[in-house]
Symmetry: C2
């Protein structure tokens, strides 16, 4: 790449940012009905644009196949009729969510008569950097729109044409509702320099949401000058306490690990109280092995089944995102908490127990975005929380923690109403 | 400074960070009474430590005088009996504030029986970087403590000994209440490298709060890898609308500019609707001039009084923090909003008007942390908002916007209670 090119990309990005700011100002005050009608029109445009999307997707798929991408990668990239319909339905679902903007979060009077309200407002401009799944274009763009934010999307180069085709539908929806198409923009180049520039556009972007694998997130964390909503990884734990009901523990552990192994809320480490290492541990381990899960255990765990592999220190820190689990026998709830504090990623952890005191201790002491008692870690999801669609899960402690839905994509301001008060 | 020195400071800071994390974990679960009794004991220790504080302050004052610091700087540094008492009272006030930690912010049930609560938890470790006022040591340390956070303080080198003496009192209070003194620590060196290291301690510090002049804040923004609660400046506006009552406008404008000119909520620019440029503008300008305020105005403003200086483009962006005001005649509320959007700092802006529609337009469109109708911008203060003491005002949109009090120094987590639920 030569310098001229960098300058071009810089100019391009600045223009994108400027347009986003202008759009965001308009969008911040757009009525709920207008935003919802844009979402509905975009859903229609997606359905009507099926063929164009399929053609664009075919170009991406051919290029990806030529590059020798894996079957799993190709599957992520694929947009069939069913997936386009799912995107359209997703937009309609977001339209049905309550609009957070303008809502009074609190309101109180001061002794001097001042009336103070805390009112939700949009954040402004959200940048989303993602990888191969083109459907993120629709989901993320729509969530930002609903919360009154302009979006600047940067998809993976593999899905470039598919994402552009989806974007065209979203923008058709915006135009149909009388909103500027620049409310949702996409970086119009696959040039990797664009990401670096985007991460430094503090003047134009208020928050960056990176969605993708570890290397993407790590790059974004290292380079971004803009605040992030992100989680690097979900090394989630399920702790089976000495007072756990065995049948409940079996059900919860199996679901937490095996329902879907590739999501961030999947349990990666099982901690079992030594008090039930004879009664519960063998059953739990056998269940997992029989379900096709590789088990890597400490000595106590290996003692219960010959199929258990030895665990390494590295395993405790590993997010497998696969049918693999690390298992450790611990001395009660305090030891479980210590293990999680040392190796966890502050994402989601669960305790299974009938002992209310142990549960209370666990829920209070574990410093994670989500802590559960007698439930599967796979519930770590905005939809399952009743928050509607989410743009991701945040393990940061500032602003948004846990599922990031429309409400978390807003800020607030203080609106103070007086009758001529001055400060003494 | 040689390399060995840098290494020493690095080691020192890492140790500080490690201790803060350990203290924060304990403090996160400390009962309200224990935190309050630490604050009460610290207040007593300040009163009893008056003499030691005075001696330490005398060392700082002598060094500052020898360095030729200005009278204003020396005054900021001075700790007399009255100021020590004010600090002690401040701690007692913070003890009386409600404890945000553990409070349920929301709680709901899901159709599958899951019970989800959003519960306030401390942020963790807060780093505070400040300049010459040694009393920040007590205020900031106490606010962090009340919200269950460990604090790492980095005061100005001029107040080094004074701050250390205050810190000793705070730590005495912590010990008396059975809390680790490391809940509030201070960087034990005036070495400037310590700040750079602190700003990169992402592993140990969750938020940095810079308090000081523009050059300090700019350095922190440029270097920090840790999220900030900060405002760079408060270029605050008061807009006197065509429908403003003249007497109310006079009272509000005078207070907004002149009550205290050195605070961030002081009005720096007065915008006056052209419709009242004949009736209101001359009176407002004369009031300000007569009160000793320098007025820099556009042509229309200069026409009303010969004492008005010409205004430059630069003035519109300037936070004077002094008895100087820039004045512009604008064509109604929309033009006022445009001016604020272009030149403002998203801090605090007020409209004076009897026209409810104009007020509603202003309050909705102005994108600032605080917007006021018929009240002085000098109300931009956590105490005036009824939030108790504040650690500062944030102009950022994430997490904390406006006054940053104990509540804003917390995060939350989701506590999910089930009866064996698994995700389908």
């Amino acid at each position: 790449m030569n310098d001229t090119n960098v300058l071009d990309v810089q100019g391009l990005m600045t223009e994108l940012g400027r347009q986003a700011r202008i759009a965001a100002r308009l969008l911040a005050r757009a009525p709920t009905e207008q935003k919802n009608s844009a979402l509905a029109a975009a859903a229609d445009a997606l359905r009507q644009g099926r063929d164009a999307i399929a053609q664009a997707n075919a170009v991406d798929m051919a290029a990806a196949a030529a590059k020798g991408l894996s079957g799993a990668m190709l599957d992520r990239l694929l947009l069939n009729e069913q997936r386009v319909e799912a995107m359209a339905k997703g937009l309609e679902e977001i339209a049905r969510l309550p609009d957070p903007v303008g809502r009074e979060m609190a309101r109180w009077q001061r002794p001097n008569g001042l009336d103070i309200a805390r009112v939700r407002v949009p954040l402004g401009v959200i940048g989303i950097i993602y990888e191969s799944r083109p459907n993120v274009t629709a989901d993320a763009g729509a969530l930002c729109l609903k919360a009154g934010n302009a979006a600047i999307l940067r998809g993976g180069s593999e899905s470039f044409y598919s994402s552009q085709a989806i974007l065209a539908c979203l923008q058709r929806g915006l135009s149909a509702a009388g909103l500027p198409p620049d409310c949702i923009q996409m970086v119009p180049t696959a040039d990797r320099a664009a990401v670096g520039i985007m991460l430094r556009m503090t003047e134009f972007i208020d928050v960056i949401v990176p969605r993708g694998g570890r290397s993407l997130i790590e790059r974004v964390i290292a380079e971004s000058r803009i605040p992030l909503f992100q989680h690097l990884e979900g090394v989630c734990h399920t702790y089976v306490d000495g007072a756990a009901d065995l049948e409940m523990a079996r059900r919860v552990v199996m679901n937490a690990k095996m329902r879907r192994t590739g999501i961030c809320g999947a349990t990666e480490t099982l901690l079992v109280d030594r008090r039930v290492s004879a009664s519960h541990l063998p059953v739990l381990v056998r269940d997992l092995l029989d379900a096709g899960c590789e088990v890597r255990g400490d000595e106590a765990t290996r003692a219960v089944d010959a199929r258990v592999h030895p665990v390494t220190e590295e395993d405790w820190r590993t997010e497998y995102l696969d049918a693999i689990i690390s298992v450790k026998v611990v001395d009660g709830v305090k030891a479980a908490i210590e293990h999680i504090e040392r190796y966890g990623s502050h994402h989601t952890e669960a305790i299974v127990t009938a002992d209310e005191a142990a549960a209370a201790e666990f829920l209070a002491a574990v410093d994670s975005a989500i802590v559960l008692h007698n439930a599967s870690t796979q519930f770590a999801d905005g939809g399952e929380f009743g928050m509607g669609a989410e743009i991701g899960i945040s393990t940061g402690k500032l602003h948004a923690r846990g599922p990031v839905g429309v409400e978390q994509l807003t800020s607030f301001k203080y609106v103070v109403r007086g009758s001529g008060q001055v400060r003494s």
